[in-house]
């Protein structure tokens, strides 16, 4: 009976008990990681209680359906998960650097767990929530909307993602995560070879997060189609919104194969199915196809929003219109479409005919065309501008240069001839980190620096921001350039130890790079703390700290809960620049109207918690618990459909008071020249350019 509710979970599965029974270095590291997690959770609970933050946390954040707050929570979740995954990267490199001398730090299976969680977390629980958070915060503001089309669904997506994160975190304390890598190929992850709970943790974490992302894609696409303010034609959307649209389309179509592949793998493992079991009519090659049918569009889900951010950064910090807007739109769309035609390049070496490989290789290289166009459009955006190298711009220019290298190695890998030689090698690992660190991660850091004032009302401290850059930028090079070389010399990914002593210096270099990236993350935390302390000097209540160009900069910082007091007028791609030029940006409104906003709801939190519990129960084969939790999810969904009072009204008077208060802040602010935008004089009002 207890088995129905606890499944296969036993005391021995607790990491601390494992350490108690076998106290070696490997189990000590596992127990320390689990201990850190438990301590972190306990410390957070104590802090919340002592400070009395439970109520505000519940009322203002967890139950909020405000797209801005949901966006901020996504980013916060991503940063927490980043801390774990980058620490894991450090442990792995330290292990590899010391391994051939003695046993190294961790056991081979533990090393495999580390690379599996590192990849799974970085893709699904760092990169995805980061960009989903930024998109959530920025996109509705940029199109002049008050919220996304489905605010409740938006919060449910967040809570499903958080549940996935929770599941991966719990695997630190209870049992083990998968050792099959982030791509989880059977037959290795099948029940015969990996019988434990590991692959099931991986399966259910991916299932939760992929469902969350599918819903996000639908939500954002509909928002972009239906919620644009009057005058915001598709071809007046800021480029970032175009990239959000393309990403959303990719999310809708690309996440489904992943959800299916993981569920089919679960059926193979536990229900006697044979989708991927050779010998019973199944075929493991189908898993590779399904996984990369998701996996390749996923690459562009990760990079397109970054391209959008770079477009905003180059234009804003050059004080100039984006060059080649139409080119960039078409290039983005071209990439989105082509991304569905290239998945096979992830397994050129599976033995199919050369013609098939050549076709997919050429399709892959075609993506180089729109990508190359983008790079030059950004370069020309800076031409004839007034370029100022603020933190986002440092990241952006660093990205331009390193992205060239990533592009070249990408074209190399697109050639089956070369891929046969470096597939599965550290060369490949260097390539995709080359795209995802300077591309996605640095874009999201630039985005955080750019839009932080709009979220919290004050700028981030510039000096500490530069410290983040000067730690992470060389850190990336140090960590990954050696991997290109080792890969070309036959060093393979996922290798727990290299017996060749000549690899040792580069492994130490890579470890040093990983330490620098970790230090850069620490600098980011310090930067946030310092900025909060100095928030009065960094405050920009008038709302426009960077002489912004698109609608999100219209209005105060932090933004109105309802985003805009009235309907902003849009006559140009750079809608806010046009308003400022016409002297209409800070004008009083004649009339104000009541505004309907979504009412807070506990439904998303409950759904997230129940779905997380159901997934956890599935991992441990606790069928009764799983069934109850799953039924609970649907009971909540059905119950919610009877709630008819889902909106609350913000009266016109309140809107008017807020709007007037902001205009008073604007009147009190002195317009600053861009030269002085880092000084306390910058209260968020930009000087009229000459």
């Amino acid at each position: 009976m207890i088995g129905l509710f606890l499944g296969t979970l036993r005391w021995d599965d607790v990491t601390f008990v494992e350490f108690w029974r076998t106290p070696d270095l490997n189990n000590a590291i596992a127990a320390a990681a689990a201990g850190l997690l438990v301590l972190g959770v306990v410390a957070t609970l104590i802090l919340l209680t002592v400070r009395g933050w439970w109520r505000p946390l519940w009322r203002d954040w967890l139950t909020s359906l405000d797209h801005k707050k949901i966006g901020i929570m996504y980013v916060a979740l991503a940063l927490v998960m980043f801390a774990r995954a980058v620490a894991e990267a450090n442990v792995m490199r330290a292990h590899q650097a010391t391994a051939a001398l003695d046993a190294g730090l961790v056991a081979p299976d533990h090393f495999a767990e580390l690379f599996s969680t590192h990849g799974t977390i970085m893709i699904f629980l760092v990169a995805m929530p980061l960009l989903t958070g930024i998109m959530n915060f920025v996109m509705p503001l940029q199109i002049g909307a008050r919220d996304v089309s489905f605010p409740l669904l938006n919060a449910i997506s967040l809570m499903l993602t958080a549940a996935a994160a929770g599941l991966v975190m719990v695997s630190l304390v209870l049992g083990h995560f998968s050792t099959g890598g982030w791509s989880g190929y059977p037959p290795y992850t099948g029940a015969d070879i990996s019988p434990g709970e590991g692959p099931d943790y991986w399966i259910w974490a991916l299932t939760l997060s992929s469902i969350g992302s599918t819903l996000t894609g639908m939500n954002f696409a509909v928002t972009l189609y239906k919620r644009r303010v009057q005058g915001m034609h598709l071809f007046r959307m800021p480029l970032f919104c175009w990239t959000v649209l393309c990403t959303s389309i990719l999310m809708i179509f690309a996440m489904a194969p992943l959800t299916l592949a993981t569920l089919m793998l679960w059926l193979d493992r536990h229900a006697g199915f044979h989708f991927f079991t050779v010998g019973s009519g199944g075929d493991m090659m189908n898993f590779a196809n399904l996984f990369w049918l998701f996996g390749h569009p996923e690459v562009y889900i990760l990079i397109l929003p970054a391209f959008g951010v770079w477009s905003e950064v180059f234009s804003t910090f050059s004080g100039k219109r984006l060059f080649g807007y139409l080119s960039l739109v078409y290039a983005t769309m071209a990439i989105a479409v082509l991304s569905f035609t290239v998945w096979l390049h992830h397994f050129f070496t599976m033995g199919q005919s050369a013609n098939v490989n050549a076709a997919f290789g050429i399709a892959t290289m075609l993506i180089g065309v729109p990508t190359g166009v983008k790079v030059y459009d950004w370069l020309l955006t800076m031409m004839f501008g007034r370029v100022r190298l603020r933190v986002p711009m440092l990241f952006a220019n660093y990205f331009l240069v390193t992205f060239l290298l990533g592009g070249v190695t990408g074209v190399l890998l697109a050639n089956p001839t070369v891929d046969y030689g470096v597939h599965n090698s550290l060369f490949l690992v260097a390539h995709f980190h080359n795209m995802l660190i300077p591309g996605t991660l640095f874009a999201m850091l630039a985005a955080i620096h750019l839009w932080f004032p709009k979220a919290f009302g004050f700028r981030l401290h510039e000096g500490w921001g530069r410290a983040v850059f000067w730690l992470m930028a060389p850190g990336f090079l140090l960590a990954f350039m050696p991997l290109y070389a080792m890969g070309m010399m036959g060093g393979m990914r996922r290798t727990a130890y290299f017996s060749d002593p000549l690899f040792r210096p580069w492994l130490w270099a890579a470890e040093a790079g990983a330490v620098l990236i970790l230090a850069g993350f620490a600098a980011l935390v310090v930067q946030i703390v310092v900025s909060v302390r100095r928030r009065d000097a960094l405050a920009v209540p008038a709302g426009d700290p960077w002489d912004g160009r698109s609608l999100e900069w219209l209005g105060p910082a932090p933004a109105f809960e309802f985003n805009f007091a009235g309907e902003p007028k849009v006559e140009d791609v750079d809608a806010f620049t046009a308003l400022k030029a016409q002297g209409e940006a800070y004008r009083r409104q004649e009339t104000y109207e009541d505004i309907e906003m979504p009412r807070n709801s506990a439904v998303p939190v409950v759904i997230g918690a129940l779905a997380g519990l159901a997934a956890f129960a599935m991992v441990w084969q606790a069928w009764a618990t799983a069934a109850l939790a799953f039924a609970g999810v649907w009971a909540v969904v059905i119950g919610r459909s009877f709630v008819r009072d889902t909106e609350r009204t913000i009266p016109a008077a309140e809107v008017e008071a807020a709007h007037r208060a902001w205009l008073a802040d604007v009147a009190a602010a002195t317009p600053v020249h861009r030269r002085d935008e880092l000084t306390p004089e910058n209260r968020g009002l930009a000087e009229e350019p000459l």
């Binding site: 290289m365 007034r386 089956p416 001839t417 070369v418 070309m488 036959g490 996922r494 350019p689």
Partner: protein, 278 residues
């Protein structure tokens, strides 16, 4: 060092320092026709890509300097957002480069198909990838070697690959690229060496805790030595036990066996031998 080795050597040198350039491993130090073609293809792509990358590397610092906010001498045109001439250039140059690269790719991919024989009358070898070890069966010679592939340097070789339990990928980097070895399936890889020598081979696909040890030596011997070696191996070897895989896994295996069991590879590569029912 031949002139055409200079570019990759320089690349490695600048990427990671002198030790890399001194270490002869991987396809950049090709020791066979396929790896040599890979290396040449690799370098040709670098040259083609320079057409796109070099202008940006030159233009970026110039633009950053000339159009900087404080004291930059460049003209400020804040509404400059389109230029038909520039747009045509930035679309057409990548199109032309990718066009050439695509042509290049098509021919290289077809001519270097791992399934394509590299010469007449190849040496036939059956490779079985198992946990921690590789078995090489020579059906015509009637022997089996463990973790050592004996090639005749004057003859090309054709490997048939399969794996016992999980997905693996077999490669001898200095001779040719890799192909997956999959349970219940047979794939093919053709190999050839320019000259006698010993070349490292390995599994590149994570397969479990013993993954780092899944390596083998490829010995390419001059023809006469090869024959002598095969003879000597045959003389010194015992019969292949039916439970050879278990024995090797237990550390109880020999370096070579006589292959009385001609069907071993076919049996392991047969779909029906895998995961039928738990």
């Amino acid at each position: 060092m031949t002139p055409d080795r200079i570019l990759p050597t320089c690349l490695l040198f600048f990427a990671v320092g002198a030790p890399a350039a001194a270490q002869e491993q991987g396809f950049l130090w090709a020791a066979g026709p396929v790896a040599e073609a890979q290396r040449a293809h690799f370098v040709s792509i670098l040259w083609w890509m320079a057409v796109v990358t070099v202008p940006l590397l030159i233009g970026l610092p110039l633009i950053l300097w000339r159009y900087r906010l404080n004291g930059g001498g460049g003209r400020y045109r804040r509404d400059w957002g389109a230029s038909p001439l520039a747009e045509v250039a930035i679309w057409s140059v990548p199109v032309v480069v990718v066009g050439f690269l695509a042509w290049n790719l098509w021919h290289a991919t077809l001519s270097l198909d791992p399934y394509r024989p590299l010469g007449p009358d190849p040496l036939e070898v059956q490779a079985i990838a198992a946990e921690g070890h590789f078995l090489f069966l020579y059906p015509d010679e009637g022997i089996v070697t463990v973790d050592r592939l004996l090639l005749d340097a004057d003859r090309t070789a054709r490997l048939k690959l399969t794996s016992v339990d999980v997905l693996r990928s077999v490669m001898v980097p200095r001779l040719a690229g890799q192909i997956y070895a999959m349970p219940g399936m047979t794939t093919e890889l053709n190999l050839a060496a320019f000259a006698p020598g010993t070349y490292a081979g390995l599994n590149t696909q994570y397969s479990g805790p013993l993954f780092p040890e899944e390596r083998f030596e490829t010995e390419a011997l001059p023809e006469t030595n090869w024959h002598a070696r095969i003879e000597a191996t045959r003389d010194g070897a015992g019969p292949l036990p039916p439970d050879v895989l278990q024995r090797i896994a237990m550390g109880d295996g020999a370096e070579a066996y006589l292959a009385a069991d001609a069907d071993l590879f076919a049996r392991i590569a047969a779909p029906s031998s895998h995961g039928a029912h738990r």
